[in-house]
């Protein structure tokens, strides 16, 4: 599966959002579904799906869907 689609699926699974709303401009706390609690669930989901280990800075920097792609790229995931 293409990694971008995989990332959309991870977001959908963790945040319970419709895929149509999972776009680059989707930002942390801009929707009720992406709050601090679901953020923690999202982080675990991404670690599992992409087999990476996210550090403190990654967790608190992940402020948007676009940023998530950037951070995963830093961990060697190609988009």
């Amino acid at each position: 599966m293409e990694n971008n689609q995989k990332l959309i699926n991870s977001f959908q699974e963790a945040l319970g959002l419709d895929t149509s709303s999972i776009v680059d401009s989707l930002t942390y706390q801009s929707v009720p579904e992406w709050d601090s609690i679901s953020h923690m669930i999202l982080i675990s989901q991404l670690e599992e799906d992409f087999n990476v280990s996210l550090e403190t800075d990654d967790v608190i920097d992940m402020s948007s869907f676009a940023k998530a792609r950037e951070i995963l790229a830093k961990h060697g995931v190609s988009f």
Partner: protein
Amino acid sequence: MRLIDRIQLNEKLRLIDEVTGKSYAYKDLPNVSWPIRERSLLFCYLNNSIESVSFLIKAFESQHVLVLLSATLTENFKAVLESTYTPNYIYDASRSTVSGYKLDGASLHVKIIASNLVLHENLQVLLSTSGTTGSPKFVKLSENNLLANAESIAAYLPILAADKVPLNLPIHYSYGLSILTSNALKGATLLAGVQDVMSKGFWDNFQKYQYSTVAGVPYVYEMLDRIGFTKMQLPSLRYFTQAGGKLRDDLVSKYADFAKEHGKLFYVMYGQTEATARMSYLHPDHLLSHIGSIGKPIPGGRFELNEETSELQYEGPNVYGGYAECVKDLSTFESPALLCTGDLAKVDEQGFYYITGRSKRFVKIFGNRINLDELEAALSNRFGAFYPCLGWQDKVVLVYSTNTNEDHSQIVTWLSVEYKLHPTSFKLRTLDAIPLTANGKPDYKFLLSDYEGR
């Protein structure tokens, strides 16, 4: 002397808005004018913004009876509460109009035809037992309850006037309110508009404002662990507190080790809204040797174990004056001699208490208390069938259905909206029939062991 009078005496008390960086002394807080002079019921829909914190402090100056509520409640639930209690004042920044009320000032809605409620003279604050979730049931607290608990907390926590205290827990909830009142009593600097611990802004402001302390319910400590709190360099942090449910023993140990290594103090505390907030705390000196303990009663409080049931009971000046479920309940205020906590406990030879179980059916998910019997009633009202519910390790609520044809995601969605919890907090499971005990009640023990053995 009232709590607010004691707070006003502190000339050092400051309120800082992290959003604008502006600092306010008590005298700088905007005054609120009250068109209805009589002592009235005042609904306060609050968040942790400077406006909310400032309004709450000014509301404490008035003689009104304050009902503290989350600003994020659904419109629907707000309407139910307002028609149940007919408050004369509604503070709500999120609505520009409220039917039957006229707007006075920025966010204060005043009832056009004032209702004449009988409010007991001791009644000062009403708090919801469940945080953000939907129940019109409130805990009745007096001026004396609030003052006594704030003084007791201020006596055992190492609060200093020089402290910078982020209000990082909701102030409409007993723990968050107690942080506000106890620190204000000591004249500390309170920070409003604080972001959550998962945002970068929280950590930037931690350094910028040099936070002295952090407070959290168990899931906050789960998050802090996730982002590597114990590996951070936080020189300004002197002490941190945990309450609002049981934190996993391995995490208590981890934070205890971190505190010891870095010369910080970690306070594990226990309480409930019916005791205004706090009933006991574990002194950091005894933390590592008593992992899992809720410590000893706070100054002025006393525990007693029911000999037959082992239920933990508490006596102290912070014990509430009963519940309110309708307007009529606002005219009474009767404090029980002993508060029955609903928790089962044991005590060791040195007087340290440990919670061993619960006598009432409720779960605490992400800091929100959910009464499972009430949840079953709500589901039955909404979906017209009996759905037995039970909690698993304060992590998920298991909801059982015997109808295989219905759309289960619809129920989970309704629950997560209504209770403001992540959808993964609810697990819907299907059964052919609900297992019953010998006396015809749902066999929750069987369901739980069945789930655990899945």
